[in-house]
């Protein structure tokens, strides 16, 4: 049997980074973007290679506890490859692949295509590294690597005022929250003398009172930095603007992959570095409050929107609230216990399902933008008879996002809420269920517009963009396949989540 060097465990992230560089080289040889198919193809192949590595490692037990090699620490514990990292890397790779396929049509006739794909690749690399970050320093660098290309990508339509304005808002709030995050890290470092998550945890446990306050403020500020990336209250203001102004594939990328990346690093840092009994602040209570406020605010705001893209943006904030339950109900019981893994794993599985259905929904919006039918609910009226296949896919996404039984989103929410109840937080689950019921209202408005309402005026659909169609349909198939295939997903997610705390 071939023995691979340890750094080979980073293959999913390396594949994305190399793809980004290869795209730059292609662009150097051919600066005029005369072969868009080659660029999109390279990007898609790169993400699929990354997905292949992540899936292979997950299946063969690399970095996992049961039947595997155990977590692989690299570069003096700065990075760690374990089941959770691989799980999230698979999510990022899937979403990035869908976004790249869809972008082929979206970017037709536009300049700077190679730059677009390579920025997407570099952002995805940052996300993949975020999932493996085992020190606050690497977490910060990876977060910036994921954020900086995102700012540029949001402003990609640079002659569109909305796009540029969205990017500026995104950048300003991002800069603010980065500053808060870095300040938090410095306070944690001041109190514990280490940036490595495991060392921070042990130093916090041994802290003798005097610096507990400093550490607690640091923990709160670090939470603020992650709240930006996951688009949770109180750093959610950028999300509706950025998602609405950005090119729709980028909205899909940010609201699915970027959010999942934020959760990946949030889960790891809080479960391994800040032990509940020694962090100086009851962060479970913090996340309970944040989860309730985030999902309620997101869903209520979504219900009042008139444009579909903005509705999806607010619904994305609402889903951040659901995913926060994973940490809010994390019981902090015996290390590696089943209860701890259950709700955290359910949250991870929800992020995977969300990756499919939310990316799909935003790509449908991209399709509608491509057809130039308009932005509001009314403008979507009658699309069901004109573009039945895409509309069926959109219906699947909407019902799945709402959590209606026969779709993937139902199971992930079921496990999430059941996990919260098992952990003793029935009220969190209750708030989640009430919010899901509310969300059914605004999601079904889209479905009603698609199938029931009559179109306001005559309109022509300009052809069928193949790439966008493939991506939308693939996302729908993924959402549906996660119905029978949910058992292995939730088992993997829960076992890797249980293994998170050694």
């Amino acid at each position: 049997m071939v023995v691979y060097p340890d750094w080979a465990a980073l293959a999913p992230a390396l594949a994305l980074a190399v793809t980004g560089l290869v795209l730059l080289l292609i662009d150097s040889v051919d600066p005029d973007d005369s072969r868009p198919g080659l660029l999109a193809g390279t990007a898609v192949v790169g993400t699929l290679v990354s997905l292949g590595y992540a899936g292979w490692f997950l299946a063969s037990g690399t970095g996992q506890v049961d039947g595997g090699t155990g977590a692989i620490s690299l570069y003096r514990d700065a990075l760690v490859v374990d089941g959770m990292a691989l799980f999230f890397q698979a999510v990022f790779a899937v979403v990035t692949a869908l976004v790249c396929i869809a972008s082929y049509d979206y970017l037709k006739e536009r300049a700077y295509q190679a730059e677009f794909y390579s920025l997407v690749m570099f952002a995805a690399t940052g996300m993949a590294v975020m999932a493996t970050a085992n020190s606050l320093a690497t977490a910060f660098i990876a977060l910036e690597l994921a954020s900086l290309p995102s700012y540029a990508l949001v402003a990609f339509l640079k002659h569109n005022r909305g796009s540029v304005e969205a990017s500026l808002k995104y950048f300003l709030i991002g800069a603010l929250s980065s500053a808060v995050f870095a300040f938090g890290i410095s306070l944690v470092y001041a109190a514990t003398g280490s940036l490595l998550l495991a060392d921070v945890a042990s130093a916090l446990s041994a802290l003798d009172g005097g610096l507990t306050g400093v550490a607690a403020i640091g923990v709160l500020m670090v939470a603020g930095g992650f709240a930006f990336k996951t688009a949770s209250v109180p750093f959610h203001f950028w999300a509706p603007e950025a998602y609405e102004g950005a090119p729709a594939p980028i909205s899909a990328f940010l609201s699915s992959a970027s959010k999942a990346a934020g959760f990946a690093v949030l889960f790891r840092v809080f479960t391994t570095a800040f032990p509940l009994d020694a962090a100086g602040v009851d962060w479970m209570l913090l996340f309970q409050v944040l989860a309730v406020v985030t999902m309620t605010l997101g869903n209520f705001a979504a219900a009042t929107q008139e444009t579909v893209k903005r509705m999806l943006a607010y619904s994305s904030i609402g889903h951040a609230g659901y995913a926060l339950i994973g940490l809010a109900a994390w019981s902090g019981g015996a290390p590696g216990s089943v209860e701890n893994g259950a709700v955290l794993g359910a949250s991870m599985a929800h992020l995977l399902v969300y990756g499919f259905m939310n990316t799909g929904a935003f790509l449908f919006v991209a399709l509608a933008e491509q057809w130039d039918v308009g932005r509001t609910f009314e403008d979507y009226a009658g699309l069901g008879s004109r573009a039945p296949m895409a509309s069926v896919a959109m219906t699947v996404f909407m019902f799945s996002l709402a959590g209606v039984p026969p779709f993937g989103g139902f199971f992930s929410k079921l496990f999430l809420f059941a996990g919260a109840v098992d952990a003793g937080f029935w009220w969190l689950a209750a708030v989640g269920v009430v919010n899901s019921t509310l969300s059914l209202y605004y999601y079904s408005r889209v479905v009603k517009a698609l199938w029931v309402d009559d179109p306001v005026g005559e309109f022509e659909l300009g052809g069928t963009p193949t790439g966008l169609y493939v991506a939308v349909v693939f996302a729908a198939v993924g959402t549906l396949l996660l119905l029978p295939g949910f058992a292995p997903v939730i088992e993997t997610a829960q076992s890797v989540a249980a293994a998170l705390v050694p």
């Binding site: 560089l21 730059l24 080289l25 662009d27 150097s28 600066p31």
Partner: protein, 138 residues
């Protein structure tokens, strides 16, 4: 006594001294209002234009960005060159010593080649800018 009191006292002094100096000087100085004192630079020269609306050529930014990248590269390269020989003598393999730095420089070179091919360092002449300059000089 709580040690934070010292920090608070320092902050109090830090804010108090400048505020006190401003207050005292405003009390004892004579007031001679004069138009020249309210001009922007108060240097004897009358400002001719507002600073708002002056635009830099965007190409300076491209060059500056490339400069920053390779400036940072030097920061990382320098300590590496210092430890290179001793590390080699104490038996660190060439692969662990040289290869990562080659990868690092390689990544930057790809970026530079890309920027070069995109024309980031080609100084394009803008018609509008040239016209403005000649108008200004004449």
């Amino acid at each position: 006594m709580n040690q934070w009191i010292a920090v608070g006292a320092l902050a109090l002094m830090g804010v108090g001294i400048p505020l006190g100096m401003i207050a005292v000087s405003s009390l004892i100085r004579p007031s001679v209002p004069e138009q020249g004192k309210s001009s922007t630079y108060e240097s004897g020269e009358i400002p001719t234009k507002s600073a708002i609306g002056i635009q830099f050529n965007i190409q300076y930014y491209m060059v500056a960005l490339l400069f920053v990248v390779f400036d940072i590269e030097t920061v990382l390269l320098f300590p590496w060159t210092v430890i290179y020989q001793p590390a080699l003598e104490s038996g660190v393999g060439l692969m662990t010593l040289l290869f990562p730095m080659l990868v690092f420089i390689g990544v930057l070179v790809i970026g530079l080649v890309w920027a070069w091919r995109q024309g980031a360092v080609k100084w394009a002449r803008s018609e509008a800018a040239t016209r403005r300059k000649t108008e200004h000089n004449s």
